[in-house]
């Protein structure tokens, strides 16, 4: 057990810090949340800066155009970026964290050459077409159909909760190619151009007031069969590869940000007199312990990932751990891939909501001002226990895959 970074890792951190201090002042002004073209341009500009400096796709394997950085270097990158106030991955999220790594792992050489470089340069934006109105957390219940017609698939159906659809060039789309097969089989993974005829994007307004995602209507959209990544009907397995990239380090920067916000809450409470409220003070103290522990859990998960070959989301699945001996998720010594991410996500998503509830307590009546950044964050935090698998689904994953409890209702 060792929390010290190596000299090489510290040198990487120093170079990164120097670079961030130099380039961040050159960023254009941050666009408002409703200005989607502006947001795309801003996120793309940041991605281009990363690319030019050699930080794009830091954690991608080198043969996919990335830097082949270790998970620890990636952790340092996310930590320092947040500390320096660098932009979030934003509209590049799906490309860099979902579609790109999936294509890198499962795509043909031609597919990798076509799609990976524009993602790394920030030239092309991707969105995710997984969720459907009648199949949210029950992803395998998706019904969007793709019928083979010559060299094309003809796709009909609809998707929902599609972030960045308004500005995306490509959609990683899950479609049902064999309606007769059991529901986890007969699904395929397609790269769909968003400007194809028959694609309609209808922005959805969230409870936070902005349009963070959209509904997608697909009416006989023709997608070349060559855009299928992985084998036909094998999309579920490909998707599991995608989702394994979502876990692990996806929330690293956010934990750093939450710890910073917590300090701001304490200082604000001192200034406005609410610090005298022992109940509130103790809540903030407890959250301090919680976010510190979430950071340590991140370091634990990253260290665990260091023990597995690069380019994959987790170690190969082995026999379920026998509860009664050791119930904890393990990577290097056997266990279930990605489940440490479920443990983290469960606690983090609730802690984030508690943080902004505490912020409202600190703000008092000011918490009714929707223009206050903490209020906007309080509203958006409500998505965290739903997005990327609801807390209920995560608990099922923990109970069944880590603890080995029987499947059921």
């Amino acid at each position: 057990m060792d929390l010290a970074y190596t000299a090489e890792e510290e040198a990487f951190r120093d170079r990164l810090r120097t670079w961030l201090a130099e380039v961040l002042p050159k960023l254009p002004p941050k666009p408002v949340a409703t200005d989607w073209p502006g947001r795309r341009a801003y996120d793309a500009a940041w991605q281009r800066m990363l690319y030019d400096a050699g930080y794009a796709g830091l954690h991608w394997p080198a043969d996919a155009g990335g830097r082949g950085a270790t998970p620890t270097q990636h952790l340092i990158f996310l930590e320092e970026s947040e500390k320096a106030g660098a932009p979030y991955v934003g509209a590049n999220f799906v490309g860099l964290l979902h579609a790109g790594p999936t294509i890198a792992a499962e795509g043909t050489p031609a597919q990798r050459a076509r799609w990976l470089p524009p993602i790394l340069r920030g030239d092309e934006i991707w969105c995710q077409g997984f969720s459907e109105p009648d199949a949210g957390s029950d992803l395998a219940a998706l019904r969007t159909r793709a019928v083979r017609d010559g060299d094309d698939y003809v796709v009909t159906g609809s998707k929902i909760w599609t972030s960045h659809a308004e500005v995306a060039d490509w959609c990683e789309l899950l479609v049902r190619t064999d309606p007769e097969a059991p529901r986890h089989r007969g699904i395929s993974w397609l790269a769909m151009p968003m400007d194809a005829p028959g694609v309609t994007v209808r922005p959805l307004r969230t409870l936070a007031g902005s349009t963070e995602f959209a509904e997608l209507f697909l009416d006989e959209v023709r997608v070349p069969a060559g855009n299928r990544v992985g084998a036909e009907h094998d999309g579920w397995r490909v998707t599991m590869v995608t989702l394994s990239f979502e876990r692990g380090t996806a929330f690293v920067g956010e934990v750093v940000a939450c710890r910073r916000v917590l300090g701001e809450l304490a200082r604000t409470a001192r200034a406005n007199g609410r610090w005298d409220d022992a109940v509130l003070r103790r809540r903030l103290g407890r959250l301090n312990a919680e976010f510190a522990a979430l950071w340590r859990l991140t370091q634990w998960n990253v260290s665990e990932a260091m023990g597995v070959p690069p380019g994959h989301g987790g170690p190969p699945a082995r026999a379920k751990p026998s509860v009664g001996e050791d119930s904890r998720p393990r990577g290097r010594s056997g266990g279930v891939p990605g489940t440490g991410g479920s443990v983290f996500k469960l606690r983090y998503s609730h802690a984030r909501q508690e943080l902004y509830d505490a912020a409202a307590e600190v703000l008092g009546g000011q918490a009714l001002d929707a223009a206050h950044p903490w209020v906007a964050d309080r509203l958006s935090a409500l998505a965290y226990t739903i997005a990327a698998g609801t807390s209920q689904i995560q608990r099922n994953i923990v109970a069944e895959r880590i603890l080995g409890l029987p499947k059921g209702r």
């Binding site: 057990m1 060792d2 929390l3 970074y5 190596t6 890792e9 620890t72 917590l262 300090g263 304490a266 409470a269 001192r270 610090w275 022992a278 003070r281 103790r282 809540r283 903030l284 103290g285 407890r286 301090n288 312990a289 919680e290 510190a292 522990a293 979430l294 340590r296 859990l297 370091q299 634990w300 990253v302 260290s303 665990e304 260091m306 023990g307 509860v323 009664g324 119930s327 904890r328 998720p329 290097r332 010594s333 440490g340 443990v343 469960l346 606690r347 209920q392 995560q394 608990r395 099922n396 923990v398 109970a399 069944e400 603890l403 080995g404 409890l405 029987p406 499947k407 059921g408 209702r409």
Partner: protein, 319 residues
């Protein structure tokens, strides 16, 4: 950064678990409920295995390991619910003669607590008091002969930990070389490690029961309501684990306060949920669940409770 157990650390943990499973199994645990006096034979056996001298330098006959290893060992102690002033033994080996070899049993008393409680008063040979309440403040450390300490009866909530309330100490001598704030810090950390072990054990107990117990024609573990209780237990234990292990590596007072807070919550919360999963069976004296819960309550009050930890962690934020 490699925040994972080394092979040696895993071996130490597994070895300790085997030793305790062999020497303090369920029959022994239930016998201890009726007579919680520390088993002196087991004490010497633990000493032979290096339990008390774990962190003494090899030149002094110790094992030469560090706080992380001590934490792993105490996690196992917590899993097994082993009774006795073990934290005191680990902290005072080398400072009090005969402790490292298991010949003498030493107890450690927090003079800043209210009330001042003394564990296993009838079964220890030496009593050490740590004065003062403020965690960072240097306080005096005194040594007393148990017979000379005035006491009042105290009905311990934990059947495995007899307690008395200390009412007076007529004759005490300073313990040379003792560092009060370090003793407090490390006592809190090792207690947190015990809580972590207990929290892990109750997850396993709950899961084992949920798999085997059937109701409405199915194992209760197939019901989502039960599953979600169990998943919540694992999450609590894993968050506490990250905090406790990290605090063992840094040794930092604030890290330890946070780790103790989360480990206390995990041990108490998991014991409660384990009891709930056991249903009516869980409310009986025969089930072991209540022993975990009561010990967890007791440990949660030792070496800094939630109020103190939360206040300290809050002050650190505003600094």
């Amino acid at each position: 950064m490699d925040f994972q157990l080394t092979d040696d650390q895993r071996a130490l943990r597994d070895g300790t678990r085997e030793l305790l499973a062999g020497r303090f199994g369920r029959d022994r645990l239930r016998a201890a409920v009726d007579d919680p006096a520390p088993d002196r034979g087991l004490w010497r056996e633990l000493a032979t295995a290096g339990f008390f001298a774990l962190r003494l330098p090899e030149a002094d006959g110790g094992v030469g390991l560090g706080l992380p290893e001590a934490v792993l060992v105490f996690e196992e102690v917590g899993r097994a619910l082993l009774p006795g002033p073990l934290v005191a033994g680990q902290l005072l080996a080398g400072a009090v003669d005969g402790v490292a070899t298991g010949e003498r049993i030493v107890a450690l008393c927090d003079g800043g607590a209210d009330p001042v409680l003394w564990e296993h008063p009838d079964h220890c040979d030496v009593l050490i008091f740590v004065e003062g309440g403020a965690p960072e403040r240097d306080g005096a450390v005194y040594r007393s002969a148990p017979a000379e300490v005035a006491r009042a009866p105290f009905a311990s909530v934990d059947p495995l930990t007899p307690l008395v309330r200390v009412t007076g100490r007529p004759r005490t001598t300073p313990l040379p070389g003792a560092d009060a704030s370090r003793l407090r810090r490390e006592a809190a950390l090792l207690t947190a490690a015990e809580q972590l072990g207990s929290a892990g054990r109750t997850v396993e107990t709950a899961v084992g029961y949920a798999r085997q117990r059937t109701q409405f024609g199915a194992p209760i573990g197939s019901f989502q309501a039960v599953k979600h209780l169990c998943a919540g237990m694992l999450v609590r234990a894993e968050l506490a684990r990250a905090a406790v292990y990290a605090a063992a590596v840094t040794g930092d007072a604030l890290d330890i306060a946070g780790a103790k807070l989360l480990a206390d919550e995990a041990a108490v919360g998991n014991a409660r949920d384990c009891l709930q999963v056991h249903g009516g069976m869980g409310f009986t004296w025969e089930a072991d669940v209540h022993l975990h819960l009561k010990r967890a309550w007791l440990r949660a009050e030792r070496w800094g409770g939630a109020r103190e930890a939360e206040e300290r962690l809050a002050q650190a934020l505003a600094g």
